[in-house]
């Protein structure tokens, strides 16, 4: 089982890395880049909600800040895109810490915390949609200037590998977290906050570190999004769509497991692609599908795809 734990992620990442060797079709790569960006966003959510049990419905706030931070630092201040990307991540982490401090300090838990995160994301969406500095409703464009030092690549494959590299890095980080003291404390808080406190866990501090890390990762997903599509507005950056996809991917794949969000995002977008093929352009069909999937996942796959696979493996060994 221990060997499987490290082997599975390795195989998934290696398999994904090889795809561009077989196809260079733009639609395939676009699909994969987008799915991996959602995967990264879900990996961020997974730290706070999957391991820490703090269920956010507003990770769009961090996705959007990461994206806007990356875009505006370039467009308004002429900062190098790689540095801008780091700044976007930092901005998201900062916002995570502040939102976390305000809500955890006030003792908000469960659905109250969920609602507050939703509210923050919506406030950001409205503000960024109105302010002229952020480009208002027209949004911001990142100037097309294809050079690696500009975080823009002539080949889609290269960008895909960069995204995959970051996803793999976070995967590694998550697996290390699972075996660290911080991870043990975070899971303890999810399981029983009072008991954790009694055992000397600084609950507020651990939650703050978790939300900062979580926001940074989801912020990175936002930064990658804008760097790939070179356009951003408030409904993309802070829209409920990304909060929903983020938590759906993690839950369907398996919240609280390292590989879950990645598998979930790929499954979700694979299916999304399929229904698009079948149902064509019927508006809202993807949302109907997502809703149905979520119900099915919650009803029949308590620990997501990963949980299913684990049980199958154990069953197969008997």
């Amino acid at each position: 089982m221990i060997a499987l734990r490290t082997l599975c992620p390795l195989l998934v990442v290696a398999g994904l890395a090889l795809i561009p060797a077989f196809t260079s079709a733009n639609t395939t790569l676009n699909f994969l880049v987008f799915a991996l960006i959602v995967a990264l966003s879900a990996q961020g959510w997974n730290i706070l909600a999957g391991y820490g049990g703090q269920f956010s419905f507003g990770h769009a706030a961090f996705f959007g800040l990461g994206a806007y931070g990356t875009a505006l630092a370039q467009a308004r201040f002429g900062i190098n895109p790689w540095v801008a990307f780091a700044a976007g991540i930092g901005l998201a982490a900062l916002a995570g810490t502040v939102i976390g401090y305000l809500s955890f300090r006030a003792g908000l838990r469960g659905s109250y915390f969920t609602l507050v995160t939703l509210a923050f994301a919506e406030v950001f969406r409205i503000l960024f949609n109105a302010a002229s500095f952020t480009g208002g409703a027209a949004g911001v464009l990142v100037k097309l200037d294809v050079r690696p030092e500009n975080f823009q690549f002539a080949s889609r494959s290269v960008f895909y590998w960069v995204v995959l590299g970051i996803v793999a890095l976070v995967l590694l980080l998550t697996m290390r977290l699972e075996r660290s003291r911080f991870g043990a404390w975070l899971i303890a808080i999810r399981e029983n906050e009072a008991a954790a406190k009694a055992l000397g866990v600084d609950v507020l501090m651990v939650k703050l570190q978790a939300i900062a890390l979580s926001a940074a990762i989801t912020g990175a997903a936002g930064g990658l999004y804008v760097q790939y599509f070179l356009y951003l507005d408030a409904n993309i950056g802070f829209g409920p769509w990304i909060s929903v996809e983020t938590l759906m991917a993690a839950i369907i794949g398996g919240a609280g497991t390292a590989l879950g969000p990645v598998l979930g995002a790929l499954a979700l977008h694979g299916l999304g692609q399929l229904t698009k093929g079948i149902a064509g352009g019927t508006p809202g069909i993807d949302l109907v599908l997502f809703g149905a999937l979520l119900i099915l996942a919650v009803a029949f796959m308590r620990d997501g795809i990963i949980g299913r696979l684990r049980r199958l493996l154990v069953w197969g060994r008997r």
Binding site: R179, S180, R181, A184, W185, I187, A188, R190, E191, N192, A194, A195, A196, K197, A198, L199, G200, V201, D202, V203
Partner: protein
């Protein structure tokens, strides 16, 4: 080691703990008894930092800890168990105990090893890989004890760790508790199982309706008429001629 002075806790109009003072000397097993609703658990929440008192002070090893948050008190060496057990239900027994062990051990390997050693002391070695959610009541009580012990406390607050156990399970637990005390951990225990209190404790304090009504050695408490009345009602002591208490 622990000095409680004039501690009072009000919940709205209810005075759950009323002007209670008591000392727990280092190295002792001190008992805290009293009828249901006497305020024993509330006193524990004040000592462990889960609630702050309305008035009064708590001192630990000479330092005033009255307003210190619970996790800091745990780090100072005060561990508590919960009367209503609070396991990390989704984790195994070993992982549960390891959370406590992590307080003094950063690395996971060391924490797991320390957890296994603690499991040995409380008799949970057989169930290390069992999910905490599937333990029996006796197992859960042992787990509460093990987790608290894993934080390597100086003072252990035990809130009815014997409640819900059958007589033979209680008989198994007594030597475990004696061994913990012998290893140098000071114990303050709330317990309704009188034969356990009488055989384990060096000294006993009695609460009733929030007030500290008596203290003394076990045999003195058993003879104390106000204690008997607190449990059995006014006049009970005179009806029982020399009878001993039976929880």
């Amino acid at each position: 080691m622990l000095e409680v002075r004039a501690l009072t806790k009000r919940f709205g109009g209810l005075v759950a703990v009323n002007d209670v003072s008591l000392d727990v000397p280092a190295g002792s097993i001190t008992g805290l008894i009293g009828p249901n609703g006497a305020g024993k658990t509330t006193l524990f929440t004040l000592i462990s930092g889960f609630e702050t008192p309305t008035t009064g002070t708590v001192r630990f090893e000479g330092a005033d800890i009255t307003t210190l948050p619970a996790f800091r008190r745990a780090r100072l060496g005060i561990a508590r168990t919960f009367q209503i057990v609070q396991p990390f239900a989704g984790l195994s027994v070993a992982e549960n105990i390891a959370v406590g062990a992590h307080l003094r051990h950063r690395s996971r390997g060391e924490a797991i090893r320390a957890a296994e050693a603690v499991a040995e002391r409380v008799g949970l070695t057989q169930s290390l890989e069992t999910p905490a959610a599937s333990l029996t009541i006796a197992g859960r009580k042992r787990l509460e004890l093990a987790r608290a012990l894993a934080t390597e406390p100086k003072l252990l607050l035990l809130d009815e760790v014997l409640a819900g156990l059958n007589p033979s399970e209680i008989r198994d637990m007594l030597p475990v508790m004696r061994a913990i005390a012998a290893s140098g951990v000071t114990i303050l225990m709330v317990e309704h199982v009188m034969q356990a209190v009488m055989s384990l404790c060096d000294y006993i304090h009695v609460l009733a309706q929030g007030k500290h009504i008596a203290e003394g050695k076990p045999e003195e408490i058993a003879r104390n008429s106000s204690v008997v009345e607190a449990y059995l009602g006014r006049g009970a002591a005179s009806r029982l001629t020399g009878g001993t208490l039976n929880g």
